[in-house]
């Protein structure tokens, strides 16, 4: 089924455009993918490091107002990532590193969802300057840093552990 899907995907005009049909589209998306990476990692690490005790003078409520930039970075990367996949599906579907990258993104997503649905978000939101977040939030922050760094690891390993590019 995945094979059929990827064969169909590869036959689309979008795939043709990505795979060189439109000159410079692939490198442009790669550049955007790195800009998105920096946006996502920057905001996520500010939040996570603060929750882990760095720059404790920062109140968490207003700090979380930077989150839209992380979401922007993630969205840029979701779109450009989907475009890479569309451009050359076969180099990803048989790639172990790609599987792990998706797994780590999924786990990072679960981590975020748990942060909201367990009400941890609201408890953290009211933590003011100089105060510690609940222990559960520190675990979530450490998991977040580990998982996003892991996502970068598996992304970088696409050509080395897998056989992309």
């Amino acid at each position: 089924m995945i094979q059929a899907f990827s064969t169909w995907l590869h036959s689309t005009r979008l795939s043709w455009a990505m795979a060189g049909g439109v000159p410079w589209l692939w490198p442009l998306c790669e550049t955007l993918h790195f800009i998105g990476l920096a946006l996502l990692m920057g905001i996520v690490s500010v939040l996570d490091l603060r929750m882990l005790g760095m720059a404790k003078e920062l109140p968490l409520g207003p700090l979380q107002r930077l989150m839209p930039f992380a979401i922007l970075g993630f969205t840029i990367n979701l779109i450009t990532g989907a475009l890479f996949f569309t451009g050359d599906p076969t180099q990803y579907i048989h790639n172990v590193a790609f599987g792990f990258k998706l797994l780590f993104i999924g786990l990072a997503g679960v981590n975020v969802i748990l942060f909201y649905v367990t009400g941890l978000y609201r408890r953290v939101d009211s933590v003011g300057a100089g105060h510690d977040v609940p222990a559960a939030a520190k675990v979530a922050a450490a998991a977040s840093l580990f998982l996003w760094i892991g996502v970068m690891y598996w992304g970088r390993m696409l050509p080395f552990i897998g056989n992309a590019f």
Binding site: L37, G42, I43, S45, A55
Partner: protein, 172 residues
């Protein structure tokens, strides 16, 4: 000149980085370079956004603490970058795009130091509105880091082919 670059490329270390099939060689160094980018550029951008008025209710002054992480990320990238450069000295140092990347990084780091001194060095920071000079530095910071990332990525598409054996440049 070329002879000098070749001799760098032929050192035991540079050859190991380039040719070893170990994941601890080229792949790990490239990964470290990516992590450093994420933290260095990302934290700079977070500070820039706050200077530009986002998350305004958050005090700006405590963000100076992130400079330690930013400098750590900078050195991770300077060292990993030097290793990747040594591995491909004859191609990367002959690539004009590399010098654009280096230029952008130089002005971006000077910009980062200026923000540290002029913005965070202001004793009445957070007591009065952010100055237009500070906002200008935040804008140039975002522009310079975007330039550095773009030039870094485009090194794979202009000039002589380099990178780990088997890594191919895609013809755009």
């Amino acid at each position: 000149m070329m002879q000098f670059l070749t001799s760098i490329e032929n050192t035991a270390f540079a050859s190991w980085v380039r040719e070893s099939s170990s994941l601890w060689a080229y792949p790990m160094i490239l990964f470290l370079h990516t992590v450093g980018l994420g933290f260095l550029v990302g934290l700079n951008a977070a500070i820039d956004f706050r200077i530009l008025g986002f998350a305004r209710r958050m005090p700006l002054a405590p963000m100076v603490k992130f400079y330690r992480v930013m400098w750590m990320a900078f050195w991770i990238n300077a060292l990993s970058g030097a290793a990747l450069l040594a591995a491909d000295a004859t191609t990367k140092l002959m690539n004009p795009v590399f010098y654009f990347k280096l230029g952008f990084i130089t002005v971006a780091v000077i910009n980062m130091i200026l923000i540290r001194r002029r913005v965070f060095g202001n004793p009445s920071l957070d007591l009065s509105p952010v100055t237009s000079g500070a906002k200008l530095l935040a804008v140039t910071s975002l522009i310079f880091w975007t330039g550095a990332i773009t030039a870094g990525r485009l090194m794979a598409y202009f000039g002589p082919v380099s990178g780990a054996p088997g890594l191919k440049n895609r013809i755009p």
